[in-house]
Symmetry: C2
DNA sequence: CGTTCTGTAATAGTAAACATTACAGATAAG
DNA sequence: CTTATCTGTAATGTTTACTATTACAGAACG
């Protein structure tokens, strides 16, 4: 799994503490220790899903649109990393009963894991993450 | 996450269908589509934890020791991949309240996720995986 | 109309995963 | 007692995934 999920959480938490004005991708990237372009890529996903809005040009940047308690970590996971737990099975042997069926079985198990994980992540909203950070 | 976890499941499932004789790392690797050395590495972990035993030399290989319903996927996960969900946070900015605290917060959340996932994985034993494969 | 931003593609660099080679040691069979 | 077979493990090479960097078009604002 790449770190888009954690970067998204970091960015939204950052924005959550700056709801009165817009934050630039550079300011967020300095907080997170990554390149501004990555921040813009991740945030463009979050924008598409209506969590934040952005503005170009002087004084522009990113800002929260929703209430902090409306956004939970499962929403963010689905946007940034859904399916990331699914194992990448190499070409196994179709002539072996195990090789021929393992991918299907593993995929169904990991799908269940992800759904189950979702139930847990839904309990965390950005508001709660902010409280933990403070 | 690497695929040690899924390779371990694949290998144990393979062994579960050959409980009367030993299987070589090459036979298992052909089923799983990976290099025999990787199989031996993963299986050496499982051996240390008493799930299987091995024998060198002619007629040697790997064989199940425990009952199939004694081994569940959480046991296997812990051996092969515990902590793999923990995000690798780059050096974030200590002068920013978010950067300074995010790693700690994320680690505690992901630790909880892993524990919660464990409750789910405990429900799957190798016996059940075998039934799904067949 | 120049400056400051986002948006996004294209390229380069780095790190993690995986394969391969090599060889020592154990075991069984001839 | 020697040869073939197999595990155990380290060392090295290769590939793939992730991340950084560069580049530039387009929007907003003074």
């Amino acid at each position: 799994m790449n770190s888009d999920f954690t970067l998204a959480i970091h960015s939204l938490t950052f924005l959550a503490l700056q709801t009165d004005r817009m934050s630039t991708s550079e300011a967020i990237s300095e907080s997170a220790g990554v390149h501004p372009v990555r921040i813009r890529k991740v945030l463009s996903l979050l924008k598409k899903h209506g969590f934040i809005k952005s503005k170009e040009g002087t004084g522009g940047g990113f800002i929260f649109v929703l209430d902090l308690s409306e956004v939970n970590l499962w929403d963010i996971y689905k946007i940034t990393s859904e399916g990331a737990l699914k194992p990448k099975c190499p070409d196994s042997n179709e002539n072996c009963i195990v090789g021929a069926n393992m991918e299907r079985v593993l995929c169904s198990i990991f799908f269940g894991v992800e759904e189950h994980m979702g139930e847990y992540l839904k309990e965390y909203t950005i508001k709660e993450v902010v409280n933990l950070v403070k």
